[in-house]
């Protein structure tokens, strides 16, 4: 069990290491001739104005909030799904109730206009 996670850890390290090596290698092989104009920011050929990290539309934030609600709630269903074959009808009905609450949340978000892009 623990050795499984050791393997995952090793794999993650190696999966990070391989692209790192490739990028470093390409950095050594490639030419290095920086100049002022080359390193300017590419925004349609016009010089950039002001800060980049400006405020943006709040709608992104609302989508992210809805996502967090749904993802967390759905992950709670996974233990139920694993035990599904051993469960009786009552536990299934409870899960259905849970999903219905999720559904109600979706309908609420929909009615409130949280799912509208424009």
């Amino acid at each position: 069990m623990l050795s499984d996670w050791l393997y995952v850890g090793i794999f993650l390290v190696i999966a990070t290491f391989l692209p790192f090596v490739a990028i470093t290698l390409a950095g050594i092989l490639g030419p290095k001739k920086p100049n002022r104009l080359k390193s300017t920011i590419y925004e349609c050929g016009i010089e950039t104005v002001g800060e980049t990290w400006v405020q943006f539309r709040a709608q992104y934030y609302i989508f992210a909030l809805v996502f967090v609600v749904f993802d967390v709630e759905t992950v709670l269903l996974y233990p139920w799904a694993v035990a599904y074959n051993q469960l009786g009808l009552f536990a299934v009905a409870e899960a259905v109730l849970f999903v219905l609450i999720l559904f109600a949340a979706l309908v609420y978000a929909w009615r409130k206009g949280a799912l509208r892009w424009f």
Binding site: Y78, V82, A83, F103
Partner: protein, 412 residues
């Protein structure tokens, strides 16, 4: 005898041989395990990245044929050395770091985006004996690792010090996290049938392929994972004609190339995951006796899914961003929720001894649900709220004789 064993199950054979060799050298058992882990992970990770080279050639050739072209055909027979030529070129390109870039996220993003895809290969069971690790929470691992890719994209957009890149990264993130919701819900269904979350356990449990038991969940998984990959019709994250190039605009050289390496590898990895979750994975005739056959079965099934993905890529136009969000939140998510509820209840109500009857009922249920949803969408489309078009006279420019005359150029 040894040679036949090697042919039947090469990876286990090599692992045993290495284990014996290391034990012969007097290496402690714990270290032997560790060395085997490192070698296995290294081989698998490198293999995945090398496989991408073949995928790039194959996909370019395929897309070429779809578009009535030859595809690459100059470098080597059938152009098979084209990706190597491209690699040679991209390895010798200059890295350009834009002014004022945030270095940590900027440099980390291309590494993370490849890592997020390669890491998925750790839990993929290639055949019943060859699997990186039989993680008992495999499905959750896949979903979790998907999050690293999203992190990489927001890093790329944030670190580039470019407004377009950041805007594209926000759009990409909105798409990726949205499509994760129906994907997570749809993946509940195979987990429910198998009673396990490990990918090898799910493959082992598929006496009947899950695409028969839950075709709708398979469809939702396919659509959402295509969107997670950012392929056509969901390629808004790097819509070249709209967003200059998307979140990766400020990258150059191999840093830029790695986004495409990740993209190509992810496309096939989706095929692998789909094959394992819904098409029985490595299962096929004689696989119990000759485990190495499982690899061929898995790759053949994954190849079919990959081909369909490319077919879709070559045939469908891109969605608009609001359409894409509506497809996700107003069609796929409710469908997935209803599907999970109905599947749970119906599967519990009908007798589980009659396996084929159960499969038939579930299949019919899925098809009926699909038809009903199609009808609902049709109805909604016919009755969709439309802004009333009212023709009002709009005075754009008034012609006034006196001012026109006073202008020196406008003489009569």
């Amino acid at each position: 005898m040894g040679f036949i064993q090697f042919l039947i199950d090469p990876v286990t054979f090599i692992a045993r041989w290495l284990q014996m060799l290391l034990a012969g050298w007097g290496v402690p058992a714990g270290w032997t395990q560790f060395i085997l882990f490192v070698l296995g992970a290294g081989a698998l990770g490198t293999g995945a990245l090398m496989f991408t080279i073949a995928l790039i050639w194959f996909e370019r050739k395929l897309i070429g044929r779809f578009q009535d072209r030859f595809g690459p055909n100059r470098v080597g027979p059938w152009g098979i050395f084209q990706p190597f030529a491209d690699m040679g070129k991209i390895f010798t390109k200059e890295y350009i770091t834009p002014d004022g870039a945030d270095p940590v996220p900027f440099y980390l993003a291309p590494i993370l985006v490849v890592m997020s895809v390669v890491s998925l290969w750790a839990v993929i069971p290639f055949t019943l004996t060859v699997v990186g690790v039989e993680l008992n929470v495999g499905v959750l691992y896949i979903i979790g690792i998907g999050g690293i890719g999203e992190l990489a994209i927001i890093f790329a957009g944030w670190g580039s010090n470019n407004k377009y890149a950041m805007l594209a990264a926000f759009r990409a993130l909105a798409q990726l996290i949205s499509y994760e919701v129906p994907m997570v819900i749809a993946l509940l269904v195979p987990v429910m049938f198998a009673g396990k979350m490990g990918l090898n356990d799910i493959a082992r449990a598929q006496d009947i392929w899950y695409i028969v038991l839950c075709p709708l969940a398979a469809l939702i998984f396919f659509i959402t994972s295509t969107a997670e990959n950012g392929r056509t019709p969901f390629d808004l994250l790097e819509a070249d004609s709209e967003l200059v190039a998307g979140f990766n605009i400020e990258y150059s050289g191999l840093r830029f190339g790695f986004y495409y390496v990740a993209d190509f590898l992810h496309a096939f990895t989706i095929g692998l995951l789909f094959a394992i979750l819904f098409l029985g994975g490595w299962r096929g005739p004689f696989v119990e006796q000759v485990p190495v056959l499982g690899v061929f079965y898995l790759f053949a099934k994954a190849g079919i899914v990959y081909f369909i993905g490319n077919w879709m890529r070559a045939s469908l136009p891109r969605f608009r961003i609001d359409q894409m969000m509506d497809i996700n939140w107003k069609i796929l998510t409710p469908t997935a929720l209803v599907l999970v509820m109905l599947t749970a209840v119906v599967d519990k109500l009908i007798a589980s001894e009659l396996l084929y009857l159960q499969a038939a009922v579930l299949f019919v249920l899925n098809v009926v649900l699909l038809v009903v949803i199609g009808k609902v969408i049709d109805w909604y489309w016919a009755h969709r709220p439309r802004p009333k078009v009212v023709a009002t006279p709009r005075p754009v420019a008034r012609y006034e004789r006196s001012s026109a005359q006073s202008h020196p150029g406008a003489g009569q």
